[in-house]
Amino acid sequence: MIALVKRLLFVAPVVWAVVTLVFLLIHIVPGDPVRNALGDNATEQQVNELKHKLGLDLPLSRQYVNYWRGVLQGDLGVSLINPSDHVLDKIIGRYPATIELALAGLAFAILIAIPLGVTAGTNQGKPMDNIASVVALLGISTPGFVLGPLMIYLFAIKLNLLPVSGRYGPEYLILPAITMGAPLSAFLTRMVRSSVIEELGEDYVRTARAKGLDERQVIYKHVLKNGLIPVVTVIGLQFGVLLAGAIITEVIFSWPGIGRLTVEAINSRDYPMVQGCILMIALTYIIANLLTDFAYRLLDPRIKVE
């Protein structure tokens, strides 16, 4: 319990900084953000009215206080383009699709990384290990915006096996999830590999073998249990990278999540909407890290993080 409170105290300044950075974003826009959004056709009066409505005509300190008040009350303002749209409502509408995609990407990454990493680690230096390493290297170096369209070309256009884009059923999830999970799976494969190699040298492995367990049991029951602990932390840290990757993946596959909302908002210069999206992604990342931290502790009772 004390650990939990300490952890939250550590997170508080980070959250403060994130909110402040996001608040400041609209003030680094060169020129007048409202004028940018409304275009040259809008009259001076329209611009001023909207500015007043959004509170952008107030002194900066007042705006900052108002922004915080809004965040704490769950009010992220309204869209510049369509002022009847509340930013938070839009985000909440899109959020489940992104989480679904991120979790599917994560699941794909884990499903590939554990068997591949274990195979590589237990066959260290053998051809299997080299193959796995090459696959992992390729995975790390292939950006989503290359892999995604390439898979669309292969599996949707040439082979006609899977849909090109959209979100109308489970089969629509496959290609985006692979696109998003591939770099992570490559990264995790290398981690699982080195983790397995390290654990294999431990005494308990010799004990397990000596008492006659077959190799499969040694690996999956003993080695993996310990070997996965460092991997779990990495998953938490990588979840944010995964979420950021959602922006590109969602654009490629027209996936109606928060990432595509971000890009749409950027293109229409809907600044409050972009601020809201960035804030939500960053906060999700912080929460994911907190959760990992606790999962880590549940997995390994030896760890008492200070």
């Binding site: 994130v18 609209i26 790390i140 950006p143 290359v146 369209p149 669309i152 960035i278 890290n289």
Partner: protein, 275 residues
């Protein structure tokens, strides 16, 4: 260095030469639009020929020339981001580690961590979205987060080295703080910095392509690999080569810098050699 590291060095050298000598190497002007034979189906019109080795895009521009000029943008962004980040990071890290105390508590305890919750690409997207897309804004955005890694390295070295006898001796002889930092601390940090720089190049090249892909990088007529990849999506069905060539260019560059970074790390630190 290990074999992959050497392969990486060769690839980087090739791309570097290509970037520097782009005007001599490119067979065509990357912006020049040629007339496409309208009687042929699109597939035939755009596909690679002996004249246009990598084919042409929908506006009749030579893909090979665009890929060649794209190397310029990638290398320029990568080198600028690494240079700016390394300089800023070194200065802040040195101050933090050398002076310690509340300065260090603020810098390493707070400022370094503030940037942690932002995956670098997200912060870059956010900044460019508000600053507007341009080459300079892209470099600025990527540097704003890039310096943290170098600062950490430098701080660690500064903390360690300032306690060594030779640093104390230098101080006793009346050497200024600046002299101690530059002559005694910096040389100790240079090796891990080079590794960080190589991995940083990989990250920056990837980030540039990602942002350009989203329309947040260098504005369109410029032949950025990311822009080309984005354009290619509309013609996947008829002209997959538009995706393949710039895609390979990004992959090879990113892979090469990662190889070199990993290779250097092993080479410089015998303790980390793979069993």
């Amino acid at each position: 260095m290990n074999r992959l590291g050497k392969v990486g060095l060769v690839i980087i050298a090739v791309f570097f030469v290509v970037a520097v000598f782009a005007p001599l190497l490119a067979p065509f002007d990357p912006r020049e639009q040629t007339r496409l034979e309208s009687s042929l189906p699109t597939e035939e019109r755009l596909k690679p020929t002996s004249e246009y080795l990598f084919g042409r895009d929908d506006l009749g521009r030579d893909v090979l020339s665009r890929v060649i000029y794209g190397a310029r943008i990638s290398m320029r962004v990568g080198a600028s981001v690494v240079l700016i980040s390394a300089i800023v990071g070194t200065i802040i890290g040195a101050i933090s580690g050398y002076y310690g105390g509340w300065v260090d508590r603020f810098l390493s305890g707070f400022l370094f961590n503030v940037f942690l919750p932002f995956p670098s690409i997200l912060l870059a997207i956010a900044m460019v979205a508000f600053l507007g897309p341009s080459l300079n804004n892209l470099i600025l955005s990527l540097s704003v987060i890039g310096w943290v890694g170098y600062a950490r390295l430098m701080r660690g070295q500064a903390l360690k080295v300032r306690e060594f006898d030779f640093a104390t001796a230098a101080r006793a002889l009346g050497a200024s703080d600046l002299r101690i930092i530059v002559l005694h601390i910096l040389p100790n940090a240079i090796q891990p910095m080079i590794v960080q720089a190589s991995l940083g190049m990989a990250g920056a090249v990837l980030a540039e392509a990602s942002l350009s892909f989203l329309g947040l990088g260098v504005p369109p007529p410029a032949p950025s690999w990311g822009v080309m990849l984005n354009d290619a999506r509309s013609f996947l069905r008829v002209a997959p080569h538009l995706l393949i060539f710039p895609g390979l260019a990004v992959m090879l560059t990113v892979m090469a810098f990662n190889f070199v970074g990993d290779g250097l790390r092993e080479w410089l630190d015998p303790k980390q050699k793979r069993q």
